[in-house]
Amino acid sequence: MVIKVEELYYSYGGERNAVDGISFEVEKGEIFGFLGPNGAGKSTTQNVLTGLLPVQKGRVEVAGRDMRRAGHDLYNLIGVSFENPNIYLRLTGLENLQFFASLYDRETADPMSLLRKVGLEEAAHQRVAAYSKGMRQKLVLARSLVNRPEIWFLDEPTAGLDPTTTQWVIDLVREKRDEGTTVFLTTHNMHVADALCDRVAFLNEGRIVAMDTPRNLKLRYGEKLVTVEHRRDGRLEREVLSLSDERERERLAELVRLGRLETIHSEEATLEEVFIKVTGRALQ
């Protein structure tokens, strides 16, 4: 296990704990999604895992180190990409990466190669103040990879990005996973989580309410539906039938028997629908 969390609590001093006794483990090379709406405790958990917040109660191990006693050398092993593009606006993209690369005690990636990888080679010598939001987000991702991290923490990496850039981020995360990097992904974007994660944990009001692979969650909580298209009196008709309802199952059997079916598609629930079913609240 590269991340091990046992009975973690965190409070900012309010009535309710921001994180309320959560436990989970993340295996090496896994993409683990931490999903939940704003205020669910996702970022607080990630901040504890990355040492930005102290462990108040519970036990947290990252890369084999107890986070209560972890020293600065832990940061040689992890990369953190923040939701807000926190970069030096008065420095160029290349200067930003060169500066951060110089802070590590291990061999780092070549800043220019990283910029090339994230498509910012041509803007390498431009000050970041002139970058678009998408470019800044790409630079933050590049910076979080500068130390070739073994564990990569991503906080809402696609927030506010256009679909093309979002797909590019998804491809990049898959590529790093294939290279053996463990990814801890915090997001409320269920499509991204569905596309990327090996396992996800649903967080609601500081507690993990469900944790499994996206497929298992959808199978467990989603309704099994089929969409069929058939002809009646020469007119094409479309029906959505539940496989858990006996009358609708009989209707499907009848359509098959009569040979009227033109198309048939199974319908899975989305992760978002599962989340709403489990927590009773929407993600946004």
């Binding site: 930005l52 926190n86 970069i87 030096y88 420095l91 500066f99 951060f100 802070l103 000050r127």
Partner: protein, 355 residues
Amino acid sequence: MMVHRFLTLTAKDLRLIVRGHMLTVVVAVALIYVGLVNFVVPEDVIVKPTVVLWDQTTVQSVRRLFEAAVDGGAADAEIILVDTEAAFEEAMAVHGNRLGLRVEGGETPERVVVTYQGHENPEVRRLLEASLRQQLGPLRGEAPLTFATETLQPGTAPERPPFNLSLLPILIFTEAGMIGLLLAAALFYSEKTEGTLRAYRVTPGGLTEYLLAKSVAMGLLGLVSTTIVTLFTVGLDVNWPAILGVVFLSAVVVTLVTLVAANMFQTISQFLFTGVLLNLVLALPTVSYFLPGFAPVWLRWLPTYPMIFALREAYFPTGAEAVLTGAVGQILLTLVVVLPLAVLAFRRRLIARDV
């Protein structure tokens, strides 16, 4: 590795200082100071002194002479009349700008003793004594009136520099230290706003390097302004190592103190009041610079107190090496105390607020 990180951080801060136009501001202010010293502030200023007069003679002729001058509006000094030694000493101690005049004799004045505070310009002394001889000499008729002088704080400033140059330590202190205070806060808050401090926290870099790098960058900025002002006012013939050393260390300490204070506020607008207050408190030792008699213990404990007097000794050496070495020692001691406190304050605050 820590040294490498410190150097990288310093280089980054210097780059931000230049690109944030802070260097431009500092150079512009330095040039304004050069203009002030060379063309605006006179080499000497005449300050109307206050004379404490104790006429011990029975006839009190000197006293009457002074009273007549005051009544006739001819006196260019304020006169305080006293009758006892205790009253004389008490009156002299009230203000560092007072001169004493003790007239000794029986019925007529025989001897006049001029009491100096110790910081008076020798030229001023000579002029004053010549004037007194001229005014009081005839009171004795044929018999010569003897003159003597005494100094309350001998060696305070036997050779005072011209007034305009005497402002140099204050101007340098103001620019390298006090403007440094505002620029250090601006640099810190720009990082806080950009969130780059948070990004730095998830690297192996520590807070000691972070704080030292900022302080050293501000120290180097102080050296630039000091070099410009010094070079174009007093030229090359000064104790450069001492001046630059004191300025650098002072700027480092002031920056650290600033960062500790700034760390307690979320935004620069929230910090502004405290920053101005801090600036005023740290600048209080300038009062002692102009009035050496005013140096209460609490004032001497301010980290900026030794800075100003070390700068004065570095610019206008009196031969009192101990002033310089003592001040440098005190600044270094402050640095040793403030640095771990700053690291501790940052650690507690950053973690508590997740900055």
